[in-house]
């Protein structure tokens, strides 16, 4: 069986069917939206920071899309709590696939990393480092 056969392990299906931290946050410190037009995957990430302005206190997300993008965003929302925004910036694609615990076929990597990219871009926009309306991770 191919790479994809492992892509839909129980953990991913569980997060897809029962997403964690799903919803919009009131008064988030950071909020940003991403969309991959060809998939139709849309994710909004809301982040609240602790008083130190560095530590991520809570994350919420909403969105619509495939199981890979939604499960990755759900897992990320759990993972990010307690991390600093610097540590968030350092998360790369390998970290995301490790978190998912499965091999992601090359065509689907864009789905897996959308939530992470939205969170990272949200921080950068808040800091005035970049100016993007909507993040996308597909070509």
């Amino acid at each position: 069986m191919g790479l994809g056969s492992d892509m839909y392990r129980q953990q991913i299906l569980d997060h897809y069917k029962n997403p964690r931290n799903y919803g919009e946050m009131e008064d988030p410190d950071i909020t940003h939206v991403g969309e991959n037009p060809s998939c139709g995957d849309t994710i909004r990430m809301d982040i609240r920071l602790a008083d130190d302005g560095e530590t991520i206190e809570a994350v919420a997300f909403t969105g619509d899309g495939c199981a890979i993008s939604m499960a990755a965003a759900s897992m990320l929302s759990e993972r990010l709590a307690g991390m600093t925004i610097e540590e968030l910036q350092e998360l790369d694609t390998d970290d995301v696939t490790e978190m998912l615990g499965v091999d992601i076929s090359p065509m689907r990597v864009k789905c897996a990393v959308l939530g992470r990219q939205v969170a990272q871009d949200g921080v950068k926009i808040e800091r005035g480092e970049i100016d993007v309306d909507r993040t996308k991770t597909e070509d």
Binding site: M1, Y8, A67, I68
Partner: protein, 425 residues
């Protein structure tokens, strides 16, 4: 289900001409070709995107490169003459296939998209103005939709869209409203690559001609799958691609009525398309060469004719029957599931493809799971984003059939879909 009844070709002997159908899949995708980890038989149901290439067509390409590779039209030497004759005669063969008068009416292009752009640029940008309208359907492929939309922006011409109804067919009353005396061009897809709808092209031609407008037919999905005759359709222009009918990529055709092509200015300038050049002026070569600037896709053009020979030998009526039976069977089997939505019209107004969604399963997840079973389908918007917006779904999965597909392959598709349903239930 027995497919052979009512028509005469043997699917198994057709399959023998396509070695790729014996491939196994499932391994590493970063290395092209079958590898040791590939262990799942391929079920290829992505024919609306591209079809496979039978041995006689591969041979036509190899024969050219091995036996008479040369540039066309400007060599006196023998190889160039052989290549020129074969390349020019390929135009005759394609012309005959769709009922055109001759090679003057067949321009080889890169693909259907380039054919659309050729007419949009060579005719649309020159002839259209704010007083004109161009009428499309809501189910146009981006190749037509984006092209005419942009021509509209540049010329001021009004771009109108004929409504697609709930059942996936065109609202012909609305068509009669859209097409009026301001209309200069009607551009319509013959068989929808997203819905499978077979559009009433002849009626659109009559409406267009009643108002002195031209009809451009996107034949990308129709010419490969059924008999198409430009005179019967009433098409002023027709575009199609070789790679969707057993030919190679990189070659397609624009049919245009000779008097229309003759009146049009060139689309690309350069070698091969000129007759006489001075520092000040240039006169154009005869049709169709006026529109084929630069060294053309010679091997592909010759192989295009070989592909036409191949599908003609199988028989276009037989191909249509085969496709209809497979699509109807797939439609019936998928309709057994309450949570599967099948898009497009009922059987008798549908070509050989089925687009669908499973409730709660994104089309890309579905496509990934089908891929695990060796089943190749397309998932996405199929280059019809506005239509998908209208359907209210970001993506659909699409199974599309061709001459080598079997009932057993449709069963494999349905089994894999059933597994996806259970996985996500």
């Amino acid at each position: 289900m027995e497919l052979q009844e009512g028509y005469a070709f043997d699917v198994e002997s057709v399959r023998a001409d396509f070695p790729i159908l014996n491939r196994r899949v499932g391994g590493d995708v970063t290395t092209p070709g079958e590898g040791p980890e590939d262990d799942t038989p391929l079920v290829y149901l992505d024919n609306a995107a591209t079809t496979h290439t039978p041995d006689p067509v591969v041979d036509a390409i190899a024969d050219y490169y091995r036996g008479y590779n040369a540039n066309v039209h400007r060599g006196i030497h023998q190889l160039s003459q052989e290549a020129s004759v074969a390349y020019e005669e390929a135009h005759d063969r394609v012309a005959e296939f769709i009922g055109a008068e001759g090679r003057e009416e067949i321009v080889f292009t890169k693909n259907t998209t380039e054919a659309e752009n050729l007419v949009a640029q060579a005719w649309g940008l020159r002839e259209l103005g704010p007083e004109d309208s161009v009428v499309l359907t809501e189910m146009e492929h981006h190749s037509s939709l984006v092209t005419w939309q942009q021509v509209g922006k540049r010329t001021g011409a009004d771009v109108r869209y004929i409504t697609v109804q709930e059942d996936g067919t065109l609202d012909m009353d609305h068509a009669a409203e859209c097409i009026d005396d301001s209309t200069a061009m009607v551009s319509a897809v013959h068989v929808s690559n997203a819905l499978g709808t077979i559009n009433p092209v002849r009626e659109l031609a009559d409406l267009a001609h009643d108002h002195d407008a031209y009809l451009f037919v996107d034949g990308a999905q129709s010419v490969p799958t059924r008999p198409v005759d430009v005179a019967e359709l009433g098409a002023d222009f027709l575009a199609f691609s070789a790679h969707k009918m057993c030919g190679p990529t990189g070659i397609g055709a624009l049919y245009g009525r000779e008097e229309l092509l003759d009146a049009m200015e060139p689309f690309l300038y350069g070698g091969d398309m000129i007759r006489r050049v001075t520092y000040e002026e240039t006169t154009w070569e005869d049709l169709p060469w006026k529109f084929e600037a630069g060294t053309p896709s010679i091997a592909q053009g010759i192989a295009f004719a070989a592909a036409v020979d191949y599908v003609d030998d199988v028989g276009m009526e037989h191909i249509r029957t085969h496709e209809d039976l497979l699509a109807a069977y797939a439609h019936d089997r998928l309709s057994e599931f309450d949570d599967v939505t099948v898009y497009g019209p009922p059987g008798d107004r549908r070509g050989g493809l089925v687009s669908f969604n499973v409730d709660g399963v994104h089309a890309h997840d579905l496509s990934s799971i089908l891929n695990d079973h060796g089943v190749a389908v397309r998932a996405g918007d199929h280059c019809t984003q506005p239509l998908h917006d209208k359907l209210g779904v970001p993506a659909t999965a699409r199974a599309s059939f061709y001459i080598y597909n079997t009932v057993e392959e449709v069963d494999a598709l349905v089994e894999a879909i059933d597994e996806a349903r259970q996985l996500f239930a």
